[in-house]
């Protein structure tokens, strides 16, 4: 008969017991007898069974701890990098790195990584899921164990495996039913195929479905009532007309006399001589300030004044050329006088107060001085 060939395909012997007490007893006995490759199945956790099975201490706790710590570290890095380094925003006047505000993020990421990570490690690394061809699958034994039975399986690969002895042991302890479990030849020769047509069709279906849902939600659903409520808000968009203000502008200029953060009120309005006499450049000509001045000069001044301030406009005569910055007149002006011109404008030159901060204006003056010096160098500069 095929009994022999079946024997060679034997995965193990299993038995169903009717209550937790009996399963605890048989488990204790099996562990006592020194079997190694066996497992117990129940539809709910049975207290004390892991101890009876002499299972090793689960490493899952340590894994959860490490994952939690890395979640916290990642949360800290994320909040620190985004909120205080890469894109610092002032929120409620708090410092860039305001730890209490980051703690909720840190906490959530700790919990998220610890719980999800532990579940993933447990299912896919420790339990080695998915395993669709396990010999216990689709057996009568598994069906009973998932409903009302408590089962034990001793695998044939165990060193002490003895078919008859185990069967009699199980019936001795009051097994309700004993099953032999075989590998089916199909399972033994099973080779997983990644490119199964079914799987490919499923993937394509998933892609189409996701794309359709994404398109529908973003382009249709959000424009249908009642989901379009975000479109109609009590606000005006930039450049829109407003019915609220008498002049019809929705974008409001700052209130008269507003001084921006970090700026101060310019006190020599229309008084060039006072500015010349009173304003002193607060910056020193260092490499840093000169580099800033050069950058700003090239951006804002050079289109008209030329790269070197010689009045050689880059605008191809579309705009009248300004006089050179290297005349004696300009060289003898004080820094304050030049500052006044940048701030207020002069003749056809407009004010640059809104484009250039005070520090940048002073830096440009330093750079102009350097340019002037370069065309009128003294003997000791070369030495």
């Amino acid at each position: 008969m095929e009994a022999n060939s079946l024997k060679s395909n034997l995965y193990g012997v299993s038995a169903i017991f009717s209550d937790t007490k009996k399963i605890a007893e048989i488990t204790h006995k099996v562990a006592e007898l020194g079997y190694k490759n066996y497992d117990v199945h129940s539809s709910f956790p049975i207290h004390n069974l892991p101890k009876k099975m002499k299972l090793k201490w689960s490493p899952l706790g340590y894994i959860a701890f490490v994952l939690g710590i890395s979640g916290a570290a990642f949360g800290l890095f994320l909040t620190w990098w985004t909120m205080s380094v890469d894109y610092p925003l002032i929120i409620g006047g708090k410092p860039w790195f305001s730890f209490p505000a980051f703690v909720p993020v840190l906490f959530e990421l700790t919990v998220l990584l610890a719980s999800v990570g532990t579940a993933i490690v447990m299912l896919f690394i420790i339990f080695k899921f998915p395993n669709p061809k396990h010999p216990l699958h689709d057996t009568e034994y598994m069906k009973r164990v998932s409903v009302d039975g408590f089962g034990i399986v001793i695998e044939a690969k165990d060193e002490k495996f003895d078919y008859e002895k185990i069967r009699s042991l199980f019936s001795e302890f009051g097994a309700e039913k004993i099953f032999d479990i075989y590998y089916s030849p199909e399972e033994l020769n099973y080779k997983p195929k990644v490119f199964e047509p079914k799987f490919i069709v499923f993937l394509i279906f998933l892609v189409v479905l996701t794309a359709f849902i994404g398109y529908f939600v973003n382009n249709k659903l959000f424009y249908m009532p009642p989901f379009d409520f975000m479109l109609y808000q009590f606000r005006v968009n930039p450049q829109e007309e407003s019915t609220l203000f008498a002049d019809g502008f929705a974008m409001r200029p700052p209130v008269k006399g507003t001084v921006a953060r970090g700026q101060s009120f310019y006190q020599f309005k229309g008084q060039p001589e006072e500015a010349a006499a009173n304003l002193i450049n607060p910056l020193l000509p260092t490499e840093q300030t000169l580099a800033l001045g050069q950058k700003k000069f090239n951006t804002f001044c050079s289109p008209c004044h030329g790269w070197r301030g010689e009045g050689d406009s880059r605008l191809n005569q579309q705009f009248p050329n300004p006089p050179s910055l290297h005349t004696d007149k300009v060289r003898n002006w004080t820094d304050g006088r030049i500052y006044h011109i940048i701030t207020e404008g002069q003749n056809i030159m407009p004010s640059y107060a809104s484009q250039l901060s005070e520090e940048e204006r002073w830096a440009i003056i330093l750079y102009i001085r350097a340019l002037q010096r370069s065309l009128n160098a003294k003997l000791e500069d070369v030495q």
Partner: protein
């Protein structure tokens, strides 16, 4: 269903007192003398200390009742052999009215909303005066104590009666009592915290304050219960077959409520810090003045980080000596927390810890010990009539 005769557990009540309670009466007497001396020398400081001590003892008393109620309501099995200890601990609430009397006599030095001259110029306090006035304060306190004492007598009366009658119906009755007690507990404890602790700074308000006090309350109650249970078990006053699994549950609860306290405390701090409203932030700013700052930072370590590390590993929760240390530490941490809440109102500039504080702590410890001794004298330390007791002794994780 088990019949009452199945419940026979070999418990023998011992007549001599537990060893760790031998010094209870001298400690109590020294503490009481110290506190009385404190009231003679510096009544204000002594009253503030008495508020701390009262809130601390009440935490253990009412928290134990909460614990008993939770046991009945959840049908918990593991805690049954220890329930009598929680019941004896909850007797602490019987002395609360006595402790409240000297405080109420000194109410003017504690609560400045009782001063008529302050009230006349302070509009916020005028608006609050329908709630914050002396008559209503005393009426409210009478209500709290009445609620607690009534439920205390019901819970312990039925439980003690069950030792004799072994009537299973009494467990059901106590479950009903517990269910009624829970909403009363939530309300009375919240209002107690607001009245005694939050109104020390009557301008300040924090809507989470009741929960904050509750989290510490449960922590303190479970630590007292854990410490006494382990001590009594070591000295053989309880039944024999108690396993580490029983104590594991205590450790797990302590650990859980340590985290709960940290969660609540941080929520309170973060919302106030973030919103940055002057009428709320001043409470924390007052606790950052001078040496109070160190105490404020210390509370993170004392009440969260140290217990967290102590109780984190699973074996630690089963280790009796570790649990004893952790529960004593948490009891200390709860005192630290209450001291931090109350005392900055008394001494604004710097942290003070003098002989009155020490005397009040000695008094509080002595009170717990003496009350436990007094109320355990004629009672079984294990609820031998409880139908769940046998199942509870077979409890394992």
């Amino acid at each position: 269903m088990t019949t009452s005769s199945d419940n026979a557990v070999n418990y023998v009540r011992k007549t001599q007192n537990p060893k760790f309670l031998t010094l209870s009466l001298p400690i109590f007497a020294i503490g009481l003398l110290g506190l009385v001396a404190g009231f003679i020398v510096n009544p204000t400081q002594a009253s503030f200390n008495l508020v701390v001590i009262m809130a601390w003892l009440l935490s253990i008393g009412v928290g134990s009742m909460f614990f008993i109620g939770i046991e009945y309501l959840s049908g918990a099995v593991w805690s049954v052999p220890f329930r009598r200890i929680a019941e004896i601990n909850s007797s602490l609430i019987l002395i609360m009215p006595i402790l409240a009397i000297p405080i109420i006599l000194n109410i003017h030095s504690l609560y400045h909303w009782t001063h008529q001259d302050v009230l006349a110029t302070d509009e916020i306090l005028q608006r609050k005066s329908p709630y914050l006035n002396e008559t209503f304060f005393i009426i409210r306190n009478i209500i709290y104590y009445a609620v607690w004492v009534i439920f205390y007598f019901l819970l312990t009366y039925f439980s003690n009666k069950q030792d004799l009658t072994k009537d299973q119906q009494l467990t059901r009755r106590n479950t009903v009592v517990s269910a009624i007690f829970m909403p009363f507990f939530a309300l009375t404890l919240t209002f107690f915290a607001i009245d005694w602790l939050m109104s020390l700074e009557p301008h300040w308000y924090s809507t989470i304050f009741g929960v904050y006090y509750f989290s510490g309350t449960v922590l303190a109650a479970i630590s007292a219960f854990t410490y006494i249970s382990i001590k009594l078990n070591e000295e053989g006053y309880l039944v024999d077959n108690l396993k580490p699994d029983h104590f594991y549950s205590m450790g797990a609860l302590l650990f859980a409520f340590t985290n709960f306290w940290a969660y609540i405390a941080f929520s309170q701090f973060m919302l106030i810090w973030y919103a940055n409203l002057p009428e709320e932030t001043f409470w924390f700013i007052n606790r950052g003045v001078g040496s109070w700052l160190y105490m404020s930072i210390g509370i993170i370590f004392v009440k969260f980080i140290v217990p967290y590390i102590l109780l984190l590993p699973q074996p630690a929760k089963m280790n009796p000596s570790r649990l004893k240390f952790a529960s004593l530490w948490i009891l200390f941490a709860h005192y630290y927390d209450l001291f931090w809440i109350v005392m900055p109102t008394f001494s604004k500039e710097r942290l003070i810890f003098g002989w009155i504080e020490i005397a009040s702590v000695v008094f509080a410890v002595g009170t717990i010990m003496a009350i436990f001794l007094l109320f355990s004298k004629n009672r079984n330390l294990v609820p031998i009539g409880d139908p769940k007791l046998k199942r509870s002794l077979e409890f394992h994780l």
